[in-house]
Each structure stands twice: as C-alpha cells, then as structure tokens.
Assembly symmetry: C2
Homo-oligomer: 235 residues x 2
C-alpha cells in the first residue's frame, strides 16, 4: 500500500508544546524531512521532535533553495515531490516537519500542490505558532474584543511597513532582524517607542525579552525573533 | 503556600490537539474555570480538557458579561480576580481554559492585569488557534514567503472590512456569522467570490467546508466558523 504524507507543525521550540496528534504520528513514520533553517546549522524542528522518532528512522535530505524566484522554486518543488512520491510508493510513511505551524510561512506549503498532482494522500497537523508562544511568554494579548491583528514578515525592502504601522492597533512583526534598526526608528517616529516587546529564541535557554527601543535598534537581533506592537500599550 | 494561576489554550476542538504542557498542568490543578460560549450551552473548552482533569476537580463558575462596555467589564474582572485570589490563598492551583489560544480573542486576557495587581503567580500556555487548524484542514496556506496576513474579527458594525479586503492578500475573518451575508456581497463586488473558504465547527463531527459563495451568503452560518480569503486563489 502506498504511504501517507504528513506535514507536522512542531511548535516554536519547547518540545512540551508538541500536540498529542503530532506525537502519535511522529512515532509511526518511516522517513522524516526537516529542512535546515541555515545551511550547516542543523534542523531545529528535528531537535524538537527527535525524542518521539523511531530509532531506525530514515532522514531524507532535500534541497530547498533560499530564493523568492518562483520559477526556480516551482521546478525544485516538483523535483522534491517526485522524490517523495517514489518513497511513498515503496509503502513508507513520510513526515515533513515545520517549526511553528505548517500553514504560516513554511517551506512545506509549497510541496502541497505538486504532491496533490501526483495523487498523494496528505494530512497536515497544525502547530503552536511562534507569535502565540511569544505572546503567552510575555502575557501580552495579541488582540482583544473586536480589534484586528496583522502578522507582518519584515520584507528586506520593508514595503508595507509604514501602511501597516499606521493602520493597525496590534501588529506582530516576524523576522525583524531583516531590518530591526529601521523598524525601531519607525516606532520612535510614531511615538510607539515604548509600545512594543522584542522576544528572541522564545522557549529556549537563550530566550531574551526586551522592552528597550535601543535594543531593537541594535545590530545583533537574532534571526529567531518576534516583535509585538500594541498601540494601546504593552503592559 | 499560595497556589498558581494558569491560562491554558486547549486548541480548537479536537482533544488530540492539546499540547503535552497543557495536559501536564490539567492533571495537577485543583480548580478549573471555563466560561460558557453561550449561556446554558455548556463549555466547549471544558469538554476538550475533561479527560485529563482529576475526578475531584472543583468547577468555579464566574460571570463574564457579554458586553464591550469597558467600565462594566473592568469592574467585573476585578471582582472575579478577587474571588480567584482568595482560592489561590487557600493553596489551590487554578486553571482558566480558553478555546484556541489564550492571547487571541479570549476572556482570560482581561483577568491578567487585575491578578497581577494582587501579586498572583501566572503562567500562560499557548494553544492551537482555530485559524491554524482550519488552514491545515483545508490545506490552504495562511501566508507564504513575504506576504502579510490579517486576522479580522467581523465587527457587528463591519468597520474596517472594506479597508482590510482592499489592502491584504491573505485575510482570516473570525466570527463571520456576525454578518456573513454582507461579507459574501463584498467578496463578489471585488471579484473574490471564488477565492475564499468557509469552515464551520472545525475538528468536530459536524465540520463543514464550503467554497460556495451562496453558502457564505446564507442566513445560518454557525457561530464557530472561520473564513479564509486568498486573493491569489484558494486551491
């Protein structure tokens, strides 16, 4: 029988934030795919899940190019989907691990269309997003009552940033390290220099929480950081 | 010793989407608080968690008025915080359960400031949000690459709706039943009549998924529904 393909959200970092459903499936897969966040740095998602994987688990290393060029990406995803499909046809069950949730800024989501085309049976298991974990850690509500919330990945060109900062009361900025200095300056310009919190490496032993605008304007904000901006005040 | 107060996100409905951390704490609390979603309808959050609670668990019924009047609310939350603090001083550990995540549209978040004032030791455990669960169920990415995402609770006055529909590529509309007919009309006006999905009672036996604009314009969309709009196309 052909195997099944799972996308599993392993949450933001703390293995205790895995769901029962994720663990049940992790224990029963034959092959795991878990892209490295940075080349040679190993996979954080795999570290989170490793205690629940079988001893004889096979690790499948696929190449996911770090580019936004859709043509390059589509070709690579198609190729990866074909490799996966061959393994599924051997009767193996495969899981693709994603940090946080599979449907929020993941590599996994791009594999779904080419896998669907090959008639693959897919199941996706949601995970705790980094921004929910960060909000709980600092006990800052992301949105209350009838307020809206914007989740904004900081683009390298910082397009959208002004518009979002002006329109929303609650903003989560993902990947602030793309230009945290500019983000800090824009918050000061608007008088929101004390209405944000920066959380880095949430749930790990290196976790750092800062309400200090000078810290946000620093050069060395880690990649795994999140900023929550609340115009009503952060505390 | 004074007890500890926990806010626990129990996820969107499926008990298998509880985290290990939520379960560890649920097993060790003395008192549970779990507001009813609608008067007399029982608590969905309590149903999700019930298998992990001790047999001798005490249920504390607090009144949380369904209003947006901040003065009324602040007074009631202060009163509820005092009741909770008295129980904590008896050495009891207390958990407040919220559907989804405690920091996204919950009643729990309002209790944090008055409890902090009383010097209560608080810990918040994040949960799977309804919108992440919905996105996984229908395998629709919430945001990819450098796209931003707006989480919009449909206000009874539908303020913001036009602006958000015009500005964002990815929109999650929470509580669409507040005026799903209007939402449907606005999608048609903009040519997005086939670029959304409506999911009701996700993860339950009554789950319903629809890509049909006529269904969205129906009168009887359930309260526990979510709409995902993706201008790039939904499938």
């Amino acid at each position: 029988m052909k195997g099944k393909f799972y996308g599993i959200g392993v949450g933001p970092g703390d293995p205790e934030l895995l769901t029962l459903k994720a663990i049940r499936i992790l224990k029963n897969i034959d092959i795991v795919i878990s892209p490295e966040t940075k080349k040679g740095k190993g996979s954080i998602a795999l570290d989170i899940a490793k205690d629940y994987l079988r001893d004889d688990i096979e690790k499948l290393n696929l190449i996911f190019p770090m580019t936004y060029d859709e043509k390059v990406l589509n070709e690579k995803w198609k190729e990866n989907a074909e490799i996966i499909n061959l393994k599924l046809e051997e009767g193996k069950n495969i899981a693709f691990l994603t940090l946080g949730d599979p449907m929020v800024f993941s590599t996994y989501m791009y594999l779904i269309p080419p896998l669907r085309k090959q008639g693959v049976d897919i199941e996706t298991i949601p995970g705790i997003t980094s921004f929910c974990a960060v909000a709980s850690t600092v006990e800052v509500p992301l949105s209350a009552g009838e307020e809206s919330l914007c989740i904004l990945p900081l683009r390298r060109d910082c397009e959208n940033l002004d518009e979002v900062l002006d329109s929303f009361d609650n903003i989560v900025v993902m990947k602030p390290s793309h230009d945290n200095k500019l983000l800090g300056e824009k918050l000061i310009e608007r008088g929101y220099g004390d209405k944000f919190v920066l959380v880095s490496k949430c749930g790990t032993s290196e976790e750092e929480v800062s309400y200090d605008i000078d810290r946000l304007k620093d050069k060395d904000v880690p990649y795994l950081s999140t900023v929550i901006i609340k115009k009503r005040g952060i505390r």
